[in-house]
């Protein structure tokens, strides 16, 4: 990765005249990892840590609604209720953004039971009318634009950096926003008025805890260029795109989050932290930890373009169209190609959500405002995925999938496929290895070890359509110690998979029939090509029958 330096310097020079660029699924400014210096094009040392939840320290800013007292009175007797009752007299704000505006670094905002719609954020002052319109036009904002008009694109904006060129958190850092009583009692309702419900931008040390977040027009929670964040005890659902998303950030924790019915992904640790090399056993190898997440009924439970150095463990990804993806597809995502994530001790199951059938296609072709009973319908997918897939690594390197239960995914339990360098397009920021002269630079050194395939945690069989699928491109990919029902050999295509103890696969360019079959799925468009010929991804596979137990043979 250090070899990027020269390209990075050139990239940085280009950026100086080409701002802004694009990232994510919408227009976003060029973003940088916390440890990257665009002036030199170098990654510096990794410093910082994930913040802890604090019960003391800083000022307490209490937010409430007119009906908070009644809601508190309806809470069961106990510590939560007593705490809320004690805080109520101190309530000084009716809107969370108002408390954020009044806060200084290290403060704690305590949000009492109620539904918060942040109505003032919807009204543009005369000087902000242009930026409000730009948000409606999906235009690009600079950081300075957000400082000037924090609520043009965001219901709540936590902006850590001051009006200076240093990209450092020096204005509002270590801010904690907590729903008192927890997510059962405190709701942030977006009504699709803003792209982001909560935006934490260069907001090092940000903690968001104990809230229900619903109905953003893009991201319910959005963390950008932030070194140190904690998203905890959240329920995030029915976002048009993402339940909780971080990008070009480091030292993050997603903990105890339920994410569902989001149009793209429940959780999205995209452009994960960039670290030198990939050393799975090193204590500082992983920059973002995802644990105790229950992500279901989304198009994708977890996705992460350039989702590097993520450690996701002890989560459940289920009943999505696809459980987990990580990929190297999109342009302008720093940290390409994706590498060095680890999924361990997760349950990845029943990811067969049928979002692409004809009836649902017709429903989703309607304008969002015309759709009836949206809460009674599954989400409308905003990207195409192979329905019935547990975990898909599309153009990733040096990832580890270990000790998971992967079952009842009717197409593939796991899948890994090649993404040519050209498909990553550009990353003008200089933080990626996008070498057009090395098209076969992805799908190497991925390890699938010790997974239970087609088996529930109680030991009963619940087969995947196929346990392991590989397009046969790449070197060093390996499968070892994975077992099916009764200790049997998992099913796979190709039939024989390389073993880790033998060094994994020897490089081949892959199987062109498999690759071209997938290429046809690129043509999907929910408006005019919902079922492109040649692509089987959008038909829910039939539930596989339990198969005879085969002895371990490979």
């Amino acid at each position: 990765m250090r070899g990027r330096a020269l390209r990075a310097v050139v990239g940085a020079a280009v950026i100086s005249i080409c701002l802004p660029a694009l990232a994510l699924g919408h227009a976003e400014r060029t973003s940088y990892f916390p440890n990257f210096d665009p002036s030199t094009g170098e990654f510096g040392p990794v410093t910082g840590s994930a913040p802890k939840y604090r019960k003391s320290g800083g000022n307490e800013l209490v937010v409430c609604k007119d009906d908070s007292a009644a809601r508190i009175a309806s809470m069961p007797r106990g510590a939560k209720r007593l705490r809320a009752e004690a805080l109520l007299p101190a309530c000084a704000y009716q809107h969370i953004q108002a408390a954020v505006d009044a806060a200084v670094s290290d403060d704690r905002i305590l949000v009492l039971p109620g539904t918060y719609r942040e109505e003032p954020s919807n009204t543009a002052s005369p000087e902000c009318e242009g930026l409000y319109q730009r948000a409606r036009d999906h235009g690009v904002f600079s950081y300075e634009d957000h400082l000037a008009c924090p609520n043009a694109a965001n219901a709540i904006a936590v902006l850590g950096d001051g009006p200076d060129p240093d990209r450092a958190c020096d204005r509002l850092c270590n801010l904690q926003i907590e729903g008192v009583g927890g997510r059962e009692y405190v709701t942030l309702e977006g009504e699709r008025a803003k792209l982001n419900l909560v935006r934490a931008d260069r907001a090092d040390g940000f903690v968001l805890k104990g809230l229900e977040l619903v109905h953003s027009d893009f991201n319910n929670v959005y963390v950008l260029e932030t070194n140190g964040f904690r998203l905890e005890d959240l329920e995030t659902h029915d976002s048009r795109e993402y339940g909780a998303l971080s990008f070009a950030s480091d030292h993050g924790v997603y903990n105890r989050i339920e994410a569902y019915r989001n149009g793209d992904s429940g959780v999205y640790p995209g452009s994960g932290p960039e670290r030198p090399g990939c050393s799975p056993e090193a204590a500082d190898n992983y920059g973002i930890e995802i644990k105790n997440v229950d992500s279901h009924d989304n198009t994708i439970g977890y996705s992460g373009t350039a989702g590097n150095h993520i450690y996701a463990h002890d989560n459940k990804f289920h009943d999505n169209a696809t459980g987990i993806t990580t990929d190297s597809f999109a342009s302008n995502h720093p940290g390409m190609p994706q590498d060095c994530a680890r999924w361990e001790r997760n349950e990845i199951y029943s990811n067969n959500l049928d979002l692409f059938n004809d009836e649902h296609d017709a429903y989703c072709k309607q304008a969002p405002e015309d759709r009836e009973d949206p809460e009674d319908h599954p989400t409308c997918p905003t990207f195409q995925v192979p329905v019935g897939t547990g975990i898909l690594i599309a153009g990733g390197n040096a990832n580890i999938v270990g000790d998971n239960y992967i079952y009842d995914n009717w197409r593939w339990g796991t899948a890994v496929l090649w993404v040519p360098a050209a498909l990553r397009g550009d990353d003008d920021s200089g933080q990626s290895d996008n070498d057009v002269f090395n098209q076969y630079d992805t799908s190497h050194d991925n390890r699938y070890v010790g997974n239970r395939m087609g088996v529930r945690p109680d030991g009963s069989p619940d087969p995947n359509g196929l346990d392991h699928w590989w397009d046969e491109e790449g070197r060093g990919n390996c499968w070892s110690g994975n077992t099916g029902p009764g200790g049997s050999t998992p099913t796979s295509d190709p039939l024989l998979l390389p073993k880790c103890e033998n060094g994994g696969s020897i490089f081949t360019p892959g199987n062109p029939v498999k690759q071209a079959s997938n290429a046809t799925c690129t043509m999907w468009n929910p408006r005019d090509n919902t079922d492109p010929p040649g692509c089987s991804w959008f038909t829910q596979p039939p539930e596989p029958e339990s198969r005879p137990v085969l002895p371990l043979g490979r």
Binding site: G25, T382, G534
Partner: protein, 153 residues
């Protein structure tokens, strides 16, 4: 290849289409870089996929637009299909309906295989698929806008 390109240029100057060389039966400024693969995708017995690489066999750049490629049967009738100038899956940066006000940038359209600018002597991947129910007349050529490419099976 150089002779072919010069011949194509001479014919173009006369306002004529260049003919295929008899080896690959292509006409115009494009030809298969090598024989394309045509197959029935797994689980879709009624579908067909062609995967190949198109080479610009002329002395001028060619702009290809995937949606403008046409599948034609032996009688010259159009067969519905979908094409992309890629050899493997890619997904879009912008969710459908969320494109920027100015439209999807050209770099993104090229990245997604929606269109391509093909310099002389260069090639680009093509994946094109269609449905072929029993009794239907299969496509035998691809009309590119600057000639035709044969589909042989």
């Amino acid at each position: 290849m150089r002779r072919r390109a010069l011949a194509a240029l001479a014919l173009a100057a006369l306002g004529l289409s260049a003919c295929g060389d008899g080896r690959d039966e292509s006409s115009g400024r494009l030809r298969w870089a090598k024989e394309p693969l045509v197959f029935t995708p797994e689980g879709l017995p009624g579908d067909r996929v062609l995967s190949g690489r198109i080479e610009n066999d002329s002395l001028r750049p060619v702009r290809l637009v995937a949606k403008e490629l046409r599948l034609l049967d032996a009688d010259g009738r159009r067969v519905d299909g979908s094409a992309v100038l890629l050899e493997s899956f890619a997904h879009q940066l912008y969710p459908p309906g969320r494109e920027p006000a100015g439209g999807v940038p050209e770099s993104e359209r090229i990245r997604l295989g929606v269109e391509a600018r093909l310099e002389p002597g260069k090639d680009v991947p093509l994946t094109i698929a269609w449905r072929e129910p029993p009794g239907s007349r299969p496509p035998v050529t691809i009309e590119t806008g600057s000639g035709t490419l044969p589909i042989r099976r």
